[in-house]
């Protein structure tokens, strides 16, 4: 199964066997959210919401308080600007405030460009700043099952920063570790795909790069393997993000820098608003951009 099919089957089981619930807008529209929603039209546990982005996450929080472990589906991650309020201000705080269990599985789906100033790419950075909510960015079927199992074993909200580029992926993506690499790339979400391409190009030129795939963004705890790989990297590290680079990726870089004596830099979306015209798009770092960035570091 690829990632989309994995998401769909997890959801189907949750709705039909756990009395769980999935909520979202236009779920049964053409494509069933990229094939990630089971075609259970009319099923009582598949809830089509109105198009009101301001109240929908509140409804999901209410379902969570009722013990239904809702899956909240936001088709464009940029729409989370309106949809996140109840998750960050209620679900995330409720455990500390009142010891409530508010488990909501928040599927926020990013895409890559071509959709103007609001909806493109990832926006997990704005979620990470609030205590009480975990954030992850799975890209493979195995990782998706892992984060789902985590969700079912915990009682807190989980923000899943999805990317449409993950949907056709049907294999796992192991980290790539060398003995004496030039640099370690810490890849978030769909930047993993570009990171692999960039690392391959650099390797053709004799520059070895580690690739460490970051599944869990928050809580972010550098593992011994990450630190060893970074310490072994002659030119430090580079965090690659599908969100704006002046955001959470800098927090990760900060943690890694302080846990080692290596500089860790960041590449993500640029500090500007994307436009609809292709030349005005604001995309995650391309393989070419990563290659050039790494070469610049090495040549300094």
């Amino acid at each position: 199964m690829n990632c989309a099919e994995t998401i769909r089957e997890i959801t189907r089981k949750h709705l039909t066997e756990n009395n769980g619930v999935a909520l979202g807008q236009c779920l049964s529209a053409v494509g069933w959210v990229g094939g990630t929603v089971p075609e259970l039209k009319g099923h009582p546990n598949l809830v089509e919401l109105s198009m009101d982005d301001t109240c929908s996450s509140g409804l999901a929080v209410g379902y969570a308080l009722a013990g239904r472990r809702p899956i909240f589906i936001c088709r464009y991650q940029g729409f989370m600007h309106f949809n996140q309020a109840f998750f960050t201000n209620y679900a995330a705080k409720a455990k500390e405030m009142w010891r409530y269990k508010v488990p909501v599985f928040i599927r926020a789906i990013a895409m890559e460009g071509g959709i103007g100033p609001v909806a493109g790419s990832s926006h997990h950075g704005m979620i990470t700043r609030m205590p009480g909510i975990s954030v992850c960015a799975p890209m493979t079927p195995g990782e998706y099952r892992q984060v789902w199992d985590w969700f079912m074993e915990h009682d807190s909200p989980l923000y899943v920063s999805e990317h449409r580029r993950s949907f056709p992926i049907d294999h796992e993506m192991p980290d790539r570790i060398h003995n004496r690499p030039a640099i370690t790339l810490f890849a978030i979400s769909a930047t993993r795909i570009n990171a692999i391409e960039a690392a391959n190009k650099l390797e053709e030129e004799g520059i070895k790069c580690n690739i460490i795939n970051l599944l869990w963004l928050k809580t972010f705890s550098p593992t011994p393997m990450m630190l060893l790989a970074l310490n072994n990297s002659k030119h430090g590290g580079l965090v690659l993000d599908t969100d704006f680079e002046n955001g959470y990726s800098k927090c990760i870089a900060y943690e890694l820098t302080h846990a080692t004596d290596k500089k860790v830099r960041v590449l993500g979306l640029e500090e500007r608003t994307a436009g609809f015209a292709p030349h005005l798009d604001n995309l995650p770092p391309s393989p070419e951009k990563i290659v050039n960035f790494v070469k610049n570091i090495i040549n300094k």
């Binding site: 109105s50 109240c55 509140g58 009142w98």
Partner: protein
């Protein structure tokens, strides 16, 4: 439009037994005495630092609702001591919460605005105005439990409140929306804020709705009427006695519901019982607060 008689039905108090009316009056006294003691503790600086949102003057609404729907789960907002008390929340843990103690109902995290009582079926509020309404709708749909969602006339204007009422209408949520309408957002009147009414909003969404005064028997009457036809909406005109926050007072309220209730109790032949309830309730609530004064 605002008046102590808005929507009144003649003889509505006589629809209910004397025992019900006595229970109703007892709850009103319980709320008022608790709030008077909280105000006193605030002025004595026994309650420190927190903004205090007293319900004094609006308690008759919560009393009427709690008597019609005692099993309902409740989602209130920042001004919610009366909700907590009316559905049977523990008075000592509310007192301790206001005092910022670990023994408070939210361990000191809730203050006055974010209290809760799992035993009474009352959920906490996060401090953003009106957020309780979408959450309550989701809870009602997800659990199937009859739910009361309480808002003020200002929070009712939040876009997500209106959207959530629409969701409740579309999906037939078992929920009663109640707006405690004192015509003010702090001191800004409704007429300065909007040209429409919440009752019209609800009716536009095909929800039964009524606009009434804060007579507790009348509130109970309509809550009873609507509880088998949910979702529904009740807008209740209230007169709070003290400031938005704290214990300040801008003079007497437009009408004093407490005095009107006492008068009605007298017409029901319950004058003596009223005296006894007033005295015993005051002694009981005073004693609870005095436990923390010594």
């Amino acid at each position: 439009m605002r008046s102590s008689r808005l929507g009144m039905t003649e003889g509505v108090s006589r629809q209910f037994s004397k025992e019900k009316s006595l229970e109703l009056f007892s709850k009103i006294c319980r709320c008022r005495d608790f709030e008077k003691n909280a105000a006193k503790a605030y002025d004595e600086k026994l309650i420190q630092r927190i903004p205090l949102y007293l319900s004094l003057g609006q308690e008759s609404v919560s009393v009427g609702l709690s008597m019609a729907l005692p099993e309902a789960k409740q989602f209130g907002q920042h001004r919610c001591h009366d909700i907590y008390i009316c559905w049977g929340g523990n008075l000592r843990t509310l007192r301790d919460e206001l005092l910022g103690l670990l023994t408070g109902c939210a361990g000191g995290m809730g203050g006055s605005a974010s209290i809760h009582s799992p035993t009474a079926g009352m959920f906490g509020h996060d401090g953003l105005m009106g957020t309780q309404i979408p959450i309550a709708v989701g809870y009602a749909l997800g659990s199937g439990n009859v739910t009361i969602a309480i808002m003020g006339d200002a929070s009712a204007e939040e876009g997500y409140v209106l959207g959530a009422i629409g969701e409740a209408a579309s999906k037939k949520a078992p929920i009663l929306f109640v707006c405690y309408d004192n015509n003010l957002s702090i001191l800004t009147e409704i007429s300065a804020r909007r040209s429409w009414s919440m009752v019209d909003e609800a009716r536009a969404k095909k929800i039964p709705a009524i606009d009434i005064t804060d007579d507790p028997w009348l509130v109970m009457h309509y809550a009873n009427k609507f509880k088998n036809d949910l979702p529904a909406f009740i807008n209740v005109r209230t007169c709070r006695e003290l400031w938005h926050a704290g214990t300040g007072c801008d003079g007497p309220p437009e009408w004093n519901r407490y005095k009107l209730v006492k008068k009605e109790m007298a017409t029901l032949g319950l004058e003596k019982e009223v005296e006894t309830i007033e005295k015993t309730t005051q002694e009981y609530i005073d004693s609870i607060w005095n436990e923390r004064r010594h």
